[in-house]
Symmetry: C2
Amino acid sequence: MSCNSPIGVFDSGVGGLTVAKEIMRQLPDEQIVYFGDTARVPYGSKSKKTITTYTRQIVRFLQSKDVKAIVVACNTASAYALETVRKEVPVPMIGVVKPGAKAAAEATRNGRIGVIGTEGTIKSGIYTEFLSATNPNVTVFGKACPLFVPLVEEGWLQDPITVEVAKRYISELLDKDIDTLVLGCTHYPLLRKLIREVVGERVTLVNPAYETAVTLRTLLQERGLAHPKRDTLPEHTFFVSDGADKFREFANSILPCEVVETKDVNIESFEEEN
Amino acid sequence: MSCNSPIGVFDSGVGGLTVAKEIMRQLPDEQIVYFGDTARVPYGSKSKKTITTYTRQIVRFLQSKDVKAIVVACNTASAYALETVRKEVPVPMIGVVKPGAKAAAEATRNGRIGVIGTEGTIKSGIYTEFLSATNPNVTVFGKACPLFVPLVEEGWLQDPITVEVAKRYISELLDKDIDTLVLGCTHYPLLRKLIREVVGERVTLVNPAYETAVTLRTLLQERGLAHPKRDTLPEHTFFVSDGADKFREFANSILPCEVVETKDVNIESFEEEN
């Protein structure tokens, strides 16, 4: 593990690519090893125990790639598994929730913050916890939006049906007079334009990916792990637990670099030792 | 394995309960061991290879419960894994696709049949294959409806948004002048009323669960495996790979019997030997 090692980034599927994209933009010298758990997606409706088991397997896989840091680019895994698993590994791990909460606490003017995410993320109450720790005066309103992920995967990003679903989910938050809304699932930035239309101009939308990349840069610099300036762009690598071709197609539609190859991994074989 | 042994029924999650319910109705003396793979749901978007691995693990688990027959109450697993896995086990296995195709081929008058299902079921072309084998003169039109499962799980069974989604998916089949529509995913019977409104009275809706229970009864009788008449109802047992409480709640809302307990199983530990 040295400054030449790659950064491990993982998510339940394709959503974490929005985080990988932000890391590529802000830290262009860092090489990324991405893992998408496409066989077991979605994580949002699964239990804490199961998400922790899956996270351990993936962290074990990423360690086999000699990563120098791990970004949990999945809100549900950040909410349910990060605190437990980070204590078990020597590699620094960061999630997307804490940076997202920090950005929201700084953005709000009236102290009323909405958070949308999966059932697991909202039920965990983790955004409320981090937001209250940053600023005890904020009031947080959470709302699970379980149809957003399948709507994104269906590709209905600018669709009247998706608008109706978004209105249904978000209107109760608007009724609470929120001025800031956290996109608490990595799929949701792909619906940003549509969500903007639903919430209007007065609400600040927070995408935790931006702040996560900032946190990662600070961490690497503090530990002397930042990669020296490169002359050419690094070659990122992509692994999934199922459907490599489908993943590659999606990745090429949203990433600035070309994804030449995506490899299949039997993630269940990365068992825990204990 | 004797006539006193239970029937194994499995699905990716709760959808297969519509099949279990039909078996309980038609074969009230048979005891059911149900497994719902709630940790890895949904199956519909996963690859053949992955679905086959999962099916093998589940069949191995059900065999540990000494089942006398296995019902693959999941269209995707029936489409992708049944033919392969049934050759590997001594217990008779039936799926929902063949019985559903038979019922549809018998129901159609104009020979134009629509099939709705998950991406995996539709892409496999298995309904077309079985329907054509039964009646070479039928024309089959398939349509994947990936939002139906999350809409059912959201509980929006009689919702204007679900009506809009259904119209979007099904209108192209109606344009093809179908007179029969196969509900090719075990979640879809829960949307039956809404789908009926969308297709009108002229289209026959086929729920493969009914015909699957008929096929199972015939199979048990032929092999001398039917359970003798009981005085009291058998005690069914339910296992899941995640979220036992949530599953039990859902099961109690749709089954005629009370589900007292649902147990968690670590299904990944039922590894293949080869």
